[in-house]
Amino acid sequence: MENIKHIFKKEYKAYFVSPIAYIVISVFLIIVGWLFFSTFFLDRQASLTRLFTLLPITFAFIIPAVTMRLFSEEINIGSYELLHTLPVSNQEIIIGKFLAAVAFVGVMMSPTIVYALSTAFLGELDWGPVIGGYLGAILLGAAFSAIGLMASSLTRNQVVAFIISMAICFSLTLMMDFVLFFLPNSIVGFFQYLSANFHFQNIAKGMVDSRDLLYFFSVIFLSLYGTGLILQEKR
């Protein structure tokens, strides 16, 4: 437990000493702000639905940029050798890094609370979906972070890590919209269940269902477990 805390602290700090963090946060806020406000006054509705509808797509390419360096950089410059010969286990390293990425996603999301507050000021805001939306955003962010972490452990090249995790996150997001047109009704449910967007939208409606939670926790667990296997295989 102690070690997880130390790894977390180091990784979290590392985000903010390099310019990447500020660039990623700025890009995220610009895109989200534009997507949200471009139709906000046309809709004439006091709700954050627009923000959360497009969040999975935005996350699908922003979060890989957040997680790409976590292992790739260390493997590339060789510091992974130093880290790995210290008395820490693989699991502690993985969980520490994962939590740091999730915390970063939280920080990245936090300025958008201003949108909720200003919307509430303009009209009657229903807080249920807003709270659900943020809960879903954290779960979705955590799931994508875990996927990004796994991609990062695969390669020493950060760009490759970015592309792999973006491809996976995009597929999971678009699963609902595209695949469904081409498939017979009998298996649509199955693919829908695999879609991160589907589960996220359920939670963002304000209904927290155990099936959706289970989905996100499974993705997180499987990805982190996969990361462990990949790192073990590298030894």
Partner: protein, 238 residues
């Protein structure tokens, strides 16, 4: 203290270490010598838990490395060949991080950091990022990393490579000072350095052991005074 038994490591089809067995006694300074690519670094990496052996095993006082890896890691301080460290971190933050992971007690941590900074002459650079340091200072940070938490065993992979003569002398002095109470395995290409510091040498070539003895015994056996010629004979340097 450390028993290496039949250690073998394959990288794909390439055999880097081939059934190597030797022992490191407590309190001894052992020189692991050999030409580049002989397999020294691979042995270190297995000993420090970075790589796992294809077959064979390492025991540290009856603890098998396959079962008690974390326990063994706690007892070993490691300086890799090119101390490649986190570039953006401050030296102080880095050493603090290593101290935390090595389980240095919170109350003793500050005193221990100061002690190591004094020993490795790092006081002027504690608040610089590792990026800004010269090769010599980086190596000293690496040595401080290896000494953190007072491990009983030190594994130093070419601690003096790439340093200028003054820095080599300083580094050797540090090793000598700390070597009195520790078990040390180290490698070097400077044979006079090995002669001056090692109690015993193990020479490997192409993944196999070609000699395991004191330098004096090797001299007698091969009837040759110059250690350099002995080394070249054993490792087919001609």
């Amino acid at each position: 203290m450390i028993n290496i038994e039949n250690l073998t490591k394959y990288y794909g089809g390439l055999c880097a270490v081939d059934h190597v067995s030797f022992e490191i006694k407590k309190g001894e300074i052992l020189g692991l010598l050999g030409p580049n690519g002989a397999g020294k670094t691979t042995i270190y990496r297995i000993l420090t838990g970075y790589l796992s052996p294809t077959s064979g095993t390492i025991k540290v006082e009856n603890d098998n490395i396959n079962e008690h890896l974390i326990k063994i890691k706690k007892r070993i301080g490691y300086l890799p060949e090119e101390a490649p460290i986190y570039h953006e971190m401050l030296v102080y933050d880095y050493l603090d991080f290593v101290a935390d992971l090595r389980g240095v007690n919170k109350l003793d941590k500050n005193a221990h950091l100061h002690e190591l900074a004094d020993l490795c002459s790092l006081n002027e650079v504690m608040h610089k990022t590792i990026d800004e340091l010269s090769k010599g200072y980086r190596q000293r940070v690496g040595i401080a990393h290896a000494l953190m938490g007072n491990p009983e065993i030190l594994v130093l992979d070419e601690p003096t490579a790439g340093l200028d003569p003054n820095q080599i002398a300083e580094t050797r002095e540090i090793i000598r000072r700390i070597g009195k109470e520790k078990t040390i395995v180290f490698s070097t290409h400077i044979l006079s350095e090995a002669e001056a510091t090692c109690d015993r040498v193990v020479i490997i070539d192409e993944g196999k052991i070609v000699a395991d003895d004191t330098i004096d015994t090797l001299r007698k056996e091969l009837n040759e005074q110059s250690f350099e010629i002995i080394f070249r004979k054993l490792t087919k340097g001609n």
